[in-house]
């Protein structure tokens, strides 16, 4: 498939936003359970604003995936109508929901609205309740994003539960890296920075295995369709002589990445390096030395790596319609 930069930025940016939100919520829960030093509402409010900016950045990128950006205002509202059958429609519901709940979460944290809902005699119960709804929205959005790709059975490279798992793990890993940078920047207790940082490392290691499994699986994929089933002629020697046009068409632009096999392979090794080992080393260095700079570098490296990862994810998928477009 042809990797569209709008979708690459959309999926990576909202991944960071959702992951950062989940990181903040876990820190809040741990703080309430007195497993970590509890932070004030301002810390979570500002963190929530950072997450919100990532989510809104994703939304802006998504606008450029529409046929015309103006369709965002004139037609995109119809996109919530087919939620019964379409994962894309479900994502179009989950994404504004996630953005809206993050905004409400920020309000509750910033103004410190609270009530002893459950009789625990611990502050922050109302904020926690809002936070739980946000967690459901964040996980739901991860599932919708992954399923958009996993549900297309014709793209066999995507049609696996690993696609959803990878969107979730890689998104949360980058979000926790971001949270570690944020906590260090805010000058919070080192325990909190370590909490975010070590979870980021654990998630990145997990992601290395789940993404690695997907790569191994895709390396030995056996395509269901062949040129024989495509045109229905049973012969071992079938070659295309003409595709019906000479100047190319949507079919030759949308479904081919247009790069060499060597380029594709190099992108794979770049993302394998930038997403997994480098951020792990930089995070570990930042956490042990107590410096913010390696943490920031770890997050930036991982995010850039994820852009390469997403590009490769799209480019690697081979659409069966390509069988019809082999020779000009």
């Amino acid at each position: 498939m042809h990797p569209a930069f709008s979708v690459i930025f959309l999926t990576t940016l909202i991944g960071v936003g959702q992951g950062l939100y989940l990181a903040l919520f876990s820190a809040q829960t741990y703080g309430m359970a007195k497993l970590l030093p509890a932070e004030d509402g301002r810390f979570f409010a500002v963190g929530g604003i950072v997450a919100l900016l990532f989510l809104l950045g994703g939304l802006v990128a998504a606008v450029f995936h529409l046929g015309k950006p103006s369709y965002m205002f004139t037609r995109a509202w119809r996109g919530i109508s087919q939620w019964r059958t379409s994962w894309l429609s479900r994502e179009l519901i989950a994404m504004p929901l996630m953005i809206g709940i993050t905004f409400i979460y920020i309000l509750f944290q910033y103004f410190g609205w609270d009530a002893d809902l459950y009789g625990w005699k611990v502050p922050g119960q109302l904020g926690l309740t809002v936070g739980v709804i946000g967690v459901i929205a964040a996980v739901g959005l991860f599932i919708c994003t992954g399923m958009i790709y996993a549900a297309v059975k014709f793209l066999q490279e995507w049609s696996t539960p690993l696609t959803v798992v990878n969107y979730f793990i890689l998104g949360t890993a980058s979000g926790f890296s971001c949270a570690a940078v944020y906590a260090a920047w805010q000058g919070t207790a080192p325990q909190l920075v370590h909490f975010f940082g070590w979870w980021a490392i654990a998630l990145t290691v997990t992601g290395f295995f789940t993404r690695g499994f997907a790569l191994l699986r895709n390396a030995r994929i056996k395509n269901k369709s062949t040129l024989q089933t495509a045109i229905g002629v049973r012969h071992t020697q079938v070659t295309q002589k003409a595709m019906g046009m000479m100047g190319g068409s949507y079919n030759t632009r949308e479904y081919f990445h247009g790069k060499t096999a060597a380029f594709l392979k190099s992108v794979k090794w770049i993302f394998l390096l930038l997403v997994f080992p480098l951020p792990i080393l930089l995070l570990a260095a930042g956490l042990t030395s107590g410096n913010t700079a390696p943490l920031l570098l770890a997050f930036v490296t991982q995010y850039i790596g994820l852009l390469f990862e997403r590009w490769f994810f799209f480019a690697q998928a081979n659409h069966p319609q390509n069988l019809y477009y082999q020779t000009v």
Binding site: V238, Y250, P320
Partner: protein, 242 residues
């Protein structure tokens, strides 16, 4: 239930592209749907949106090769995978005649339906920025102002060899159903379970099977046409008669 479809006979298709040009002409002149875009139609690398393409394949190894001309358009699948994925409901399959259509006023151009079509039957219009595909000339086949013989898709009317048949594949006695049943009609990429409504008729070879007995009259008692082995010089009955 009605399922309108095309049946394309690969045995008689000569690859003349008349169906491609007539389709483009009819559908770019549509009053309601607007033109199908063309970029640099007379320049370098001309490109544009088409509903129908004719491709050419070579089967076999020289000198035992065969050229197959293969027209490809939307197959109007009975279990169309492009329909449920559409987030806006723009892509839909009509209940009354099974035609898969795109509502150009609802489409947001997200291309998701084209990813969900294994045949590459959908093309994005680069000017209108909406997804386009074969409509089976829905604006023509029900047009009461046309004579009944012309209420057919433009490609079917244009085909000089009558390689394209149009009709209801759910009616067992229709011309298309009979053609599929009696001439081995098949579907493309059956492995995906999309149940395409359009069918293709295979290439058919007309061979003469000539047995040796038909060349040599083994039963001729006079053996007039046989190569005479071991004949003797005595008079035969024929010689006597002559």
């Amino acid at each position: 239930m009605t399922q309108l479809a095309l049946v394309i006979d690969l045995n008689v298709c000569v690859g003349c592209h008349a169906c491609v040009t007539s389709c483009k002409q009819w559908n770019t002149s549509s009053e309601k749907a607007g033109p199908l875009f063309d970029d640099r139609p007379y320049g370098e690398d001309p490109t544009g949106t088409f509903f129908n393409r004719v491709q050419t394949y070579e089967v076999g190894c020289f000198p035992n090769t065969e050229t197959v001309h293969f027209p490809k358009s939307c197959l109007h699948c009975e279990d169309a995978p492009c329909v449920p994925v559409c987030p806006t409901g723009a892509s839909h399959k009509r209940a009354e005649d099974g035609i898969v259509l795109v509502d150009y006023d609802k489409c947001i151009g997200c291309k998701y339906c084209s990813w969900a079509c294994p045949y590459g039957a959908r093309e994005l219009d680069e000017y209108q920025k909406v997804m386009k595909k074969c409509t089976l000339c829905v604006d023509r086949i029900y047009d009461q102002t046309l004579p009944e013989s012309e209420r057919k898709p433009a490609c079917v009317l244009a085909c000089p060899t009558s390689a394209r048949l149009f009709g209801d594949v759910h009616d067992p006695e229709s011309q298309v159903s009979v053609a599929i049943r009696e001439n081995g009609g098949y579907q493309l990429m059956p492995e995906w379970g999309t149940k395409p409504a359009n069918h293709y008729l295979p290439r058919r070879k007309t061979r003469m099977h000539i047995h040796e007995d038909e060349l040599v009259r083994a039963d001729n008692p006079l053996k007039k046409e046989d190569i005479r082995h071991g004949t003797n010089d005595d008079f035969t009955l024929d010689d006597w008669l002559m």
